[in-house]
Assembly symmetry: C2
Homo-oligomer: 423 residues x 2
């Protein structure tokens, strides 16, 4: 039987999950997959802490040379997170010809191309199922199940923290600030929640998924990004009446050879399969030209789901260790390949003075900008009127221009919210 | 670049879809996956018909020896369906050391073990993604993404015809007979619909999925099976009021080392992710001990979705053709390993005479059989009362015993419906 040695870098949530699963399932993996996988080393900065958290003392090291020079280590599983020292350690591993498995979406999204260069020199494999969607086999699906398809669209709920916050805001009618504070207290959101709530995390994952889907690297900075921190409880409540669910969606589309890539809050029609993906669950909707619509759903984070994805990559790599590579992308998507003026339906809420003629001015601005309205409602308040409307498919640039013009009207107090609508 | 030769057996819906995708994507597959795949032969009984349907004349043969003796053919993709001649042709192919890809669920469910013996002799690979769930990558998920998990449950909507019929019955309030006739006219159901509507097709697929999930062959005949032909519009309507959606569900569970496997109509709680899988779509819900709940969703049938799965297997196999095997199961699940007295919640509707004391007799029968009631409602008609009730989790055997006793009461006209409830 083939014997394969593993080093785990980091012993936090994911590293510990990976170690525990490998220890617990060693015999089952031998029996079912014909490979004998042994953890040879656990690399951490603070050995004492790792040992306290359950890492066996004899495996723990804080000297990375122990790993590089150990020829019995075939696979390095990186579960540290962040850019450094993870990046340097993975590059050293690849240089030494060791296959790498990583759960690090930020690092992989930003430096995949660079890692790829080192990997191709030594023919080491790179596996990264755990970077996107936790235990959901989305990378496996894109690389091992969509060979017959040109991927036309990816739409994903791929950040559990924001989905948890939006689901609770929606269920409880609570404000963003209150739910965020509670999510932080419960450990569902970080003390500094920026990476999640401003959509950075989702944009890293979308960059990885899109690169595989379109077979060209998509730099995360080319993705249009808008977070959830401005989403208001009032709009969620109105959206519900209109048959919409609020979600932070990561969207990538291939249109006439160009790429549209964006992360922002949307109103999803309740009948869309992604609309029922709630709480900390993730869901990824993929459209292929032959397979049509498929969707994958599951836990997007957590020690065991993410550890499950890391272990899956380890076994997948271990079984084909002689020719372990699977993604060899060389082209890069540039700004010229990106559609920045995308089209969408739009929901808008604005507050205007209760004066005659206002509505006619607003509708004529829409008409001048080629925006047609699907539905509109007005609610009168004290001297002001709240207008809620949904447009037909419109150009993003036209919408922005129209909003600027509307905001410049003296009778308009405020454009309170603009939310894109996905059907 | 590696060159791989393919023979396609059969040129019906799936065979033609497979051929067309391979022809159209040849260059893309070379570029993205590094293998040059060429269709060398199309084997059919009736060459004229295949050529009329678009098969290139120079590839078509009705002589199977042409395929067996052609050493440039590495993979035989069987798209005929049914047991014979498909079985004999696949065995001949395996004997000749050719890898096989098949979309044939009935054949594979019934004869996997036998095919495995031939395959293991010549070390030929067997790939069967297209047998279950059309274009949904469920086989890939179970074999390549769940290595870190003991699979605890599979619940699937895996027959498009019955899901289409039940969805339309539910949407339109129509009877089974009317919707079936219409589905037949539209080509969504066969002239003889038995295999679909009586749950055979779903049981074959469940046998394949369970065998992979539990790493032991599950013979389809050990699966408890009940079709949809007795589902009544009235119960669907009442179920809606109770928050349930009707589905034909294929369920397999691992409980204390034993297997529960069944195909039958269920009332699914509307909040369950599978409840919104409607029309001809399929959905498969998998619970792993580490990954938790995942769900896969997509088109379960059709020329291109199923062709997409066949082509995916062909590329998957072609890239690892030197060691192409992936499922080596030897154990078989026997009757002793099966839990026949499973537990479930139950919905029941019965018609009783409008006499005092009837209800007390019925409820005491339930109590005697350890069945407790969650909710009950009565609707009086002309001299009769319709009773609808939902139980807490109960044993199947106790339910059957209770129904027998209730039916024997002279005041009970009929137990109209018994539908298991899944949460």
């Amino acid at each position: 039987m083939k014997s394969v040695g593993i080093a785990i870098l980091g012993f936090g949530t994911v590293g510990a999950g990976t170690y525990n699963i490998l220890a617990e399932r060693k015999e089952r993996i031998k029996e079912e997959y014909g490979v004998d996988i042994t953890v040879k080393a656990i690399y951490v900065r603070n050995p004492k802490k790792a040992i306290t958290n359950g890492a066996p003392q004899e495996l723990v090291t804080s000297n990375f040379d122990d790993i590089i020079t150990d020829s019995s280590i075939d696979i390095v599983a990186e579960c540290i997170g962040g850019i450094e020292p993870a990046k340097t350690l993975l590059i050293e591993s690849l240089k030494a010809g060791k296959n790498i498995v990583t759960a690090n979406k930020e690092l992989f999204a930003k430096h995949w191309g660079e890692l790829e260069k080192y990997a191709s020199k030594t023919k080491a494999g790179m596996y990264f199922e755990a970077t996107c969607g936790g235990g959901i086999p989305v990378i496996r699906t894109l690389t091992q199940a969509m060979q017959a398809n040109t991927i036309l669209q990816i739409k994903g709920i791929i950040n559990g923290t924001t989905n948890y916050i939006l689901s609770r805001m929606s269920d409880e009618g609570a404000s963003y600030e209150n739910v965020l504070a509670d999510a932080q207290a419960l450990g569902f959101a970080e003390a500094d929640p920026t990476a999640d709530v401003e959509g950075y995390d989702a944009s890293y994952k979308l960059a990885i998924l899109s690169s595989l889907a379109f077979n060209k690297f998509l730099p995360a900075e080319l993705i249009y990004r808008e977070g959830i921190s401005k989403v208001q409880a009032e709009d969620i409540a109105i959206g519900k009446q209109l048959g919409f669910t609020i979600k932070l969606l990561a969207i990538a589309k291939l249109i006439d050879g160009k790429i549209e890539a964006r992360v922002h809050p949307v109103f999803l029609k309740n009948s869309h399969p992604l609309a029922s993906v709630s709480g900390s669950f993730n869901g990824i909707f993929i459209v292929g030209d032959n397979v049509g619509d498929i969707m994958l759903y599951g836990r997007g984070a957590g020690s065991l789901p993410t550890g499950s994805a890391v272990v899956s990559d380890i076994v997948f790599c271990a079984r084909q260790i002689e020719h372990a590579r699977y993604a060899e992308i060389s082209d890069v998507i540039t700004k010229q390949d990106i559609i920045s003026d995308f089209t969408s339906d739009y929901y808008m809420r604005m507050t205007v003075l209760d004066l005659s003629g206002v509505l006619s001015q607003i509708t004529s601005i829409f008409a001048d900008n080629n925006i047609s309205i699907t539905s509109m409602r007005q609610d009168a308040g004290e001297g002001v009127v709240s207008i809620v409307l949904v447009t037909h498919k419109s150009s993003e640039n036209n919408i922005r221009k129209a909003i600027k013009e509307i905001e410049s009207l003296s009778e308009v107090q405020k454009v309170n919210a603009v939310i894109r609508v996905e059907k």
